[in-house]
């Protein structure tokens, strides 16, 4: 669908701490279908980046192939983007991150891109705890090739052509927790109030931050009988807690629990404030998070919100002890041992 977006912006649009209005964080006009859940997620990313005072050029957005992977063109046009090949975004993000540890890496993928062709890379990027945000815009189908079931389609879910999916679905969020992902959240594209703080928390997490966002495909998977339709998801969604991302606050000295809310202190002094905490779930405990996800599934609920996080995990750079200076800023001086050393190497080979 194509339409013209007015260039006019209200002259008194509020500015963030960097002096940018939200329009500075927008991207090109989306070419996705009207009402696509992905566009809502893009809008959430724009809002989160604006509110977090991110310098757009200090963020790199990466994607694979598919409808979801097109979206990086539709947000943060002042950021470099890389639309790579199908299912291979994690490896490109890994290399990019190794080259420059100072940028924020924002990966966008889909259910086909991550749960099928890219499953290997998805699993291994989690193992390495690469410092990045990884959003799967999950609609249970292959939109760009016109609606085939994907590996995240629920068993028994009916697609637009009336075919019922026979196969077990892959639950990316519980898989991520199982694999040791250090930040796992789930959300719904129709719930921006929940999504935006989750994206902020993910960007702030110093390791692999995964958000599985159920994002209905209005064209191919929004029919009666589909478990990824707007109606079905709205009816079955259950949140772990409502969440606020609280920037550095000097008055908060320590982690505390008060009634049904919890403050989770993050590595850099910021906080996550979780309200209406479900009783059997502790977001810092992996086992408890696993249980919460499984229990919800038993009850046919889609559990959303923050599921699990380990705020103090060490990312890949920490594990392999790369220098604090980004590797792409090093020059001959630091990198080349020079001719004198080479003389000694030659001598040892005689």
């Amino acid at each position: 669908m194509t339409y013209i977006r007015p260039k006019f912006r209200h002259p008194e649009l509020p500015k963030n701490k960097l002096g940018y209005t939200i329009s500075y964080y927008e991207g090109a006009l989306s070419t996705l279908c009207a009402g696509c859940g992905h566009d809502s997620i893009s809008a959430g990313i724009v809002q989160a980046a604006y509110e977090m005072n991110i310098e757009p050029h200090k963020l790199a957005k990466l994607s694979g192939i598919g409808c979801s992977s097109k979206t990086p063109a539709y947000f943060l046009s002042n950021s470099h983007g890389f639309n790579s090949v199908h299912g291979r975004m994690p490896s490109v993000a890994t290399g990019a991150n190794m080259a420059n540890r100072d940028l924020i890496y924002f990966g966008v993928s889909g259910d086909g891109d991550s749960a099928s062709i890219g499953m290997g890379q998805f699993v291994h990027v989690i193992r390495r705890n690469l410092n990045m945000v990884y959003i799967v815009m999950n609609n249970g189908c292959y939109g760009l090739t016109k609606g085939q079931d994907s590996a995240t389609a629920d068993r028994g879910s009916k697609n637009k052509s009336g075919n019922v999916n026979l196969f077990q679905s892959i639950d990316l969020a519980s898989l991520a927790i199982e694999l040791g992902a250090t930040f796992v959240a789930q959300s719904f594209s129709g719930d921006k109030t929940q999504l935006v703080p989750l994206i902020k928390a993910a960007m702030n997490h110093p390791g692999f931050a995964f958000i599985n966002v159920i994002s209905p495909c209005v064209t191919f998977n929004n029919n009666v009988g589909s478990t990824k339709s707007y109606d079905f998801v709205r009816e079955h969604v259950e949140a772990t807690a409502t969440i606020d991302f609280v920037p550095m606050m000097s008055e908060i000295k320590a982690e505390y629990t008060e009634g049904d809310s919890k403050m989770v202190k993050l590595h850099d002094g910021t906080y996550l404030k979780l309200h209406k905490l479900s009783q059997e779930w502790d977001p810092l405990n992996r086992l408890s998070a696993m249980n919460a996800v499984h229990n919800a599934r038993e009850k046919d609920e889609i559990l959303t919100g923050l599921l699990y996080m380990d705020p103090d995990s060490g990312d890949l750079h920490e594990m392999i002890q790369t220098s604090d200076r980004p590797l792409n800023t090093l020059t001959e001086k630091e990198l080349c041992p020079g001719p004198e050393v080479l003389k000694n190497i030659n001598a040892d080979l005689r």
């Binding site: 050029h57 990019a96 890379q121 590797l327 630091e334 020079g338 005689r350």
Partner: protein
């Protein structure tokens, strides 16, 4: 040549061992001793795709004339592997020698009338002299090296100094090694006539040359070239490239102040991910490379297409082995040429470099990074198992103190400020090479969307036929530009003297040079050219045009380089004759000479 005549510094010794028994270091000791005596020597390790228990051979050619290619015909077989005994006896040249462990009587079936037998009771001697089981096994190897020292006249003091260097810090091990060597020497002196009718004599033919394998040289080259991100998946015969890189990085890439590492080395989950990481890192302004072999290259095709089309520098070291499929994983070949040249679907062409020696592995690895960044495209270093995993006598490594990395057309923030509108794929200079920016450079200028889809000059997605075609044509223009950037061929003559021209590349160099000498001795003069890079530049075309008959010497079945020459230069097939070897062993001068002369004898030629 009559075997009665004494031959100095001209023979082949082959060791037949069981892998995993410690023979490799003993055999290397033998080879290095000859090198230290100033005599050109070339070892070939012929090993199984296995860790323990299967036959393995080590072949050492000694050549006063400096021929570093493999030679057929074994003068002396050191046979300590009962498994391969039948074949080992059969492979000895008539009049040659067969050294074996006489602790057990040699079966009659192994006896040939035209072979001289040297029985040494290696096991018995070891059991008497050493008590530890592992030592008994290891020193069996050292005893036969001692025996060879006597039989071939190798200077014993050379062994002493080599062992001293090898066991620096573990001096306790020197004495038992010397003892075992001496046992071998003494046994020969007491029981046989020595030296044999071929032996070594000290020379000064090595000069300042070094001995190293090509893979280590590539690893060192990547260190010198400033590679900071390496991503790889283990595969024979390329594994030791990254292992060498790691080893050198441990030494030269630790920040002296922080103790942190100026390098990231990632063992990926597969070759797909390995090359993806390399592309991501290069996109982000780090020099990054991977090393692989044929099966890995097949997997990397998808990403190579992306890197070609999205124009991202990529360095890939392909240590070729015998294909197709898993093929012979531990045997050599030059059979990835076509796959590499046109890797990936759609219209693609890739830059290839062909090193022949460890020194070139070092230099061309560095060249590969410069070329990849200058041309913003994948560059593949096409080495092979023979060069990569065998030790070679090589000119020493050199590095100019003033050498700077050529990072290509990259815009800084200041440069971006001077530009009105940045176009990632805008051919500003008319050479097909456009300007790139690294992420994070400028707050409001220079960002663009990298993609494998068609786009316009400003990196905006488009399905316009015109824009697509403009881009494809510009890539072709860049390809033409590349011809002036890549390494020129080595010409063996200032002025052509023959109607016959030889073309070869990579490890076919040594045997080809030797073949030229043999042909010359038969009054057949040839001109020659060694290819160092693809695309072929003008000099390659000129050489071919200047000769009536061209022999393309290569180590694959399908004459891949010949095809490439035909496709790219439009050379008539009738003019190009193939000289091939594809049995997995390095090509020999005899094979080359035989094939060339058979064509020359054809009527109408």
């Amino acid at each position: 040549m009559s075997l009665k005549e004494n031959r100095i510094n001209d023979f082949v010794v082959r060791f037949a061992n069981v892998n995993g028994t410690g023979s490799a270091s003993a055999n290397y000791l033998f080879c290095k001793a000859i090198f230290r005596m100033g005599i050109p020597v070339t070892p070939k390790n012929i090993f199984p795709s296995n860790i323990q228990g299967l036959p393995t051979w080590y072949e050492v050619r000694v050549s006063e004339k400096g021929y570093l290619g493999r030679r057929e015909g074994i003068d002396l077989m050191v046979a300590v592997n009962p498994q391969s005994m039948t074949a080992d006896v059969a492979s000895v040249k008539s009049g040659g020698y067969f050294l074996y462990d006489s602790s057990k009587k040699l079966h009659a079936e192994y006896l040939r009338e035209d072979v001289n037998y040297i029985g040494i009771p290696l096991m018995e001697m070891c059991n008497e002299a050493f008590t530890d089981a592992r030592q008994r096994q290891l020193f069996k190897n050292i005893i036969y090296v001692g025996a060879l020292a006597a039989l071939l006249n190798i200077d014993f003091s050379v062994f002493e100094s080599l062992l001293g260097e090898q066991f620096k810090g573990k001096e306790k091990l020197i004495a038992p090694n010397i003892k075992a060597l001496q046992m071998g020497v003494d046994y020969v002196r007491q029981n046989f006539k020595y030296p044999l009718n071929f032996y070594v004599e000290k020379r000064d033919l090595i000069g300042d040359k070094i001995m190293i394998d090509g893979n280590s040289a590539c690893g060192l080259g990547a260190i010198y070239a400033g590679a900071t991100v390496a991503a790889w998946y283990p595969i024979t015969p390329s594994t030791s490239v990254v292992e060498a890189f790691m080893g050198y990085a441990d030494e030269y890439r630790i920040d002296p102040v922080t103790g942190k590492r100026n390098v990231a080395i990632i063992q990926a989950e597969d070759e797909l991910a390995a090359i993806g990481m390399v592309i991501g890192a290069n996109w982000n302004g780090a020099r990054s490379f991977t090393a692989t072999s044929g099966p890995g290259l097949s997997l990397m095709n998808e990403f190579l297409g992306l890197a070609y089309f999205a124009e991202i520098p990529t360095v890939l070291i392909d240590v070729q082995r015998s294909g197709p499929s898993t093929g012979m994983p531990t045997r050599t070949q030059q059979s990835d040429v076509l796959e590499a040249a046109y890797a990936s679907h759609g219209d693609t062409k890739h830059i290839l470099l062909f090193p022949s020696t460890p020194k070139e592995c070092f230099e061309m690895t560095s060249d590969a990074f410069d070329l990849a960044e200058e041309l913003q495209t994948p560059v593949m270093l096409m080495t092979d198992l023979d060069l990569g995993m065998n030790d070679h006598v090589s000119e020493p490594f050199e590095w100019d103190i003033n050498k700077e990395y050529k990072r290509g057309k990259v815009l800084s923030a200041t440069a971006l400020d001077k530009i009105e509108k940045f176009g990632r794929y805008l051919d500003v200079d008319g050479d097909g090479i456009t300007y790139r920016t690294y992420p994070g450079t400028h707050p409001s200028k220079g960002s663009f969307f990298t993609r494998g889809t068609s786009r316009d000059e400003y990196a905006v997605y488009t399905e316009s036929s015109d824009a697509y075609k403009r881009n494809m044509d510009r890539l072709m223009k860049k390809w033409e530009t590349a011809k002036d950037y890549v390494n020129a061929p080595q010409l063996y003559q200032e002025k052509n003297i023959s109607k016959i021209g030889l073309i070869f590349f990579g490890t076919s160099q040594f045997s080809s040079e030797e073949a030229m000498d043999i042909l010359r001795s038969q009054n057949i003069q040839t001109d020659a050219m060694r290819l160092k890079a693809f695309p072929f530049n003008r000099a390659v075309e000129d050489f071919i045009n200047a000769h009536e008959q061209i022999f393309v010497i290569e180590q694959n079945r399908d004459a891949q380089m010949r095809s490439l020459i035909m496709i790219e230069l439009g050379i008539n097939a009738d003019k190009l004759f193939s000289v091939l070897n594809y049995d997995g062993m390095p090509i020999t001068a005899d094979q080359i000479t035989r094939q060339i002369t058979s064509h020359l004898n054809l009527p109408n030629n």
